[in-house]
């Protein structure tokens, strides 16, 4: 039995990847999470210049639905400063995927060119952050723009490009198709769902930015549905990476069965101790593979499409 995973040409020791936005602000949390047993890690989304993000509260838990709402708003130090963290990850041989964003084509290009000389497993294009005024979701909901950006970046590097899709669209297949036509090497689904919390005592939105994005257990069935749909339509063309609400090993299996080649895990690793969670995930996957006589992760992928 093996956990070995291939996402296109990328070899991973297992299909568990740290999702962008959680534990990804510094090389040391990324390294810690990888060493706890992940296949790879993805950095916090990095843009062209330093951003302080949105005012607090910008992240809090919603206990009843085991979820987290956030409006961090792409706070990041900018690629020229974050390079140093990636360099340390390179030196320590941590398989690192860098999430990048821009408000327009030019900014995406600037960030990619500013980092492409480093040892990066893949660039994940964050076309789908709901927490900014411009860019992010706005780009990720326009198929023409998605195609244009992906194909432009495609010409600049041999490093695989993964496109992270937003669920906040009426037709995700249209966007996925545009990403594939632009030359994307994998599709990642899903980013957070648009969400909001209002305090009924003070009658005020709680998030400093008022609106935010929901992650955690509540969004898992939505992620499963999107991965299932994407696999049905594009499963023979491109690997799909499932993300959204993984809290238990069973959730990982579910994503694989829906059609995921690998999964990204964020919220649950951040809320708990990543070391414990990853151990539980691995134990559960092993047990499932044994019970259902799977020898490889690849055999599980798409198993629900019969």
């Amino acid at each position: 039995m093996s956990f070995d995973t291939e996402v296109g040409d990328i070899q991973l020791r297992n299909p568990l990847i740290l999702a962008s936005g959680v534990l990804g602000t510094t090389y040391s949390t990324l390294q810690r999470t990888y060493e706890a047993g992940l296949g790879a890690v993805i950095t916090k989304s990095i843009g062209p210049r330093s951003r302080i993000g949105n005012p607090n509260p910008s992240v809090f838990a919603l206990q009843e639905i085991r979820s987290v709402i956030n409006s961090v708003g792409l706070a990041n130090p900018g690629y020229s400063i974050f390079r140093e963290d990636i360099q340390i990850l390179n030196e320590n041989k941590i398989p690192t995927i860098v999430s990048i964003f821009g408000e327009n084509k030019e900014e995406f290009l600037e960030v990619l060119n500013g980092l492409k000389d480093l040892s990066v497993l893949a660039f994940e294009l964050n076309l789908s952050c709901p927490n900014t005024e411009k860019g992010g979701t706005q780009i990720g909901t326009d198929p023409e723009l998605v195609k244009e950006i992906v194909s432009m970046l495609r010409k600049e590097t041999e490093i695989p490009l993964w496109v992270k899709l937003t669920p906040n669209v009426s037709n995700i297949l249209e966007i996925a198709d545009a990403a594939i036509k632009g030359g994307s090497d994998a599709l990642v689904a899903i980013n957070t769902l648009k969400a909001m919390v209002i305090d009924i005592q003070t009658k005020m939105p709680v998030l400093g930015f008022k609106r935010g994005g929901l992650s955690g257990a509540a969004i898992k069935p939505i992620g499963i549905r999107y991965v299932y749909d994407l696999y049905e339509n594009f499963g023979d063309k491109i690997p799909i990476i499932g993300v959204g609400g993984i809290y238990r090993g069973e959730d990982i299996i579910e994503y694989l069965l829906a059609g995921a080649t690998a999964v990204e895990i964020g919220t649950s690793l951040g809320v708990a101790y990543p070391e414990n969670m990853i151990r539980f995930f691995q134990m559960k996957i092993k047990k499932y593979m044994k019970e259902h006589q799977f020898n490889s992760i690849k055999e599980i992928t798409g198993g629900a499409h019969r």
Partner: protein, 283 residues
């Protein structure tokens, strides 16, 4: 129903029931929460939401049933807005977060603080005094002037009742001896060879200096220091804006209180912190 601790959830709205000037620019607030919890542990913190303005981490000075005590000094727009709140106003509380101070048995407890660092040390003092056996408690506090000594009357009263020994000093000599808390601290460590544990909270540069002093004395069994004075967004481990290098420990869940062995491993300690963007800068 009395819960073990508060749930990690959206802000729990509490009502301000007391507001008093504690010392210069610093107010004591009592906040009544709608849920009872067993206890808050010394060194733990809350995320305090001032609706419509900001949310920030703040140490817990006291907690009983559902009444929370915090001390707020003017540090920025968020704390200023809190200071402008009145009795009856609602504020949001998330927590209790973080790992607490862990006082062992049969040692001299040396509590050393400056500024709002006195907040968790007040709760630690309360907790130590609740123990069945009498504890040997020494509190070392320093400030620029008498007006800036936090909880001066509270600690002085405990000293006068012979429950603690209060070593108090000011830069200008307006109260206590003139100088720094480290003077009395070192005197104590030189004169008392019995095992001591130091608990420190305050500005990180000050803590680093105290850490270096503590290392010189073999009778110091452990130093527990609270690194809570850092930028935080979530408070429960997800965002990692408070993480320290090279260990990847998150101040909010792996800390804020770290022991000697851990502090030795944190190369950022006393030297670097992160801004809201995640950029690392010198303290």
């Amino acid at each position: 129903m009395t819960k073990q601790t508060l749930p990690n959830d959206k802000p729990l709205m509490g009502k301000i029931i007391t507001k008093e000037l504690e010392c210069e620019d610093t107010y004591k607030f009592l906040i009544e929460l709608p849920i009872k919890a067993q206890r808050a542990l010394p060194g733990q913190f809350i995320m305090l939401w001032v609706p419509g303005v900001d949310e920030f981490p703040i140490g817990i000075a006291g907690f009983k049933e559902n009444i929370l005590e915090v001390g707020i000094a003017k540090m920025g727009p968020g704390t200023e807005a809190m200071i402008n709140k009145q009795i009856g106003d609602l504020v949001g509380v998330r927590g209790f977060y973080g790992k607490p101070f862990k006082p062992p048995q049969d040692v001299n407890h040396l509590l050393i603080g400056g500024g709002f660092g006195m907040t968790p040390l007040k709760l630690l003092t309360t907790t130590l005094l609740e123990k069945d056996s009498k504890q040997n408690i020494h509190v070392f506090e320093g400030a620029r002037t008498k007006d800036r000594l936090m909880y001066l009357d509270w600690f002085q009263d405990l000293h006068d009742k012979d429950l603690i020994t209060f070593h108090v000093c000011t830069d200008d000599g307006s109260y206590g001896y003139q100088g720094f808390p480290t003077v009395d601290l070192e005197n104590f460590l030189q004169e008392n060879q019995t095992p001591s544990v130091m608990y420190v909270a305050g500005p990180e540069k000050m803590m680093k200096a105290i850490f270096n002093i503590g290392k010189k004395y073999s009778n110091v069994m452990d130093m527990q220091m609270s690194l809570a004075d850092r930028y935080m967004r979530c408070g429960f481990g997800a965002c990692s804006y408070c993480a320290v290098d090279p260990t990847g420990w998150r101040i909010c869940v792996d800390g804020p209180v770290f022991n000697t062995e851990q502090l030795e491993q944190i190369s950022d300690f006393g030297l670097y912190k992160r801004l809201e963007s995640g950029e690392k800068v010198r303290i």
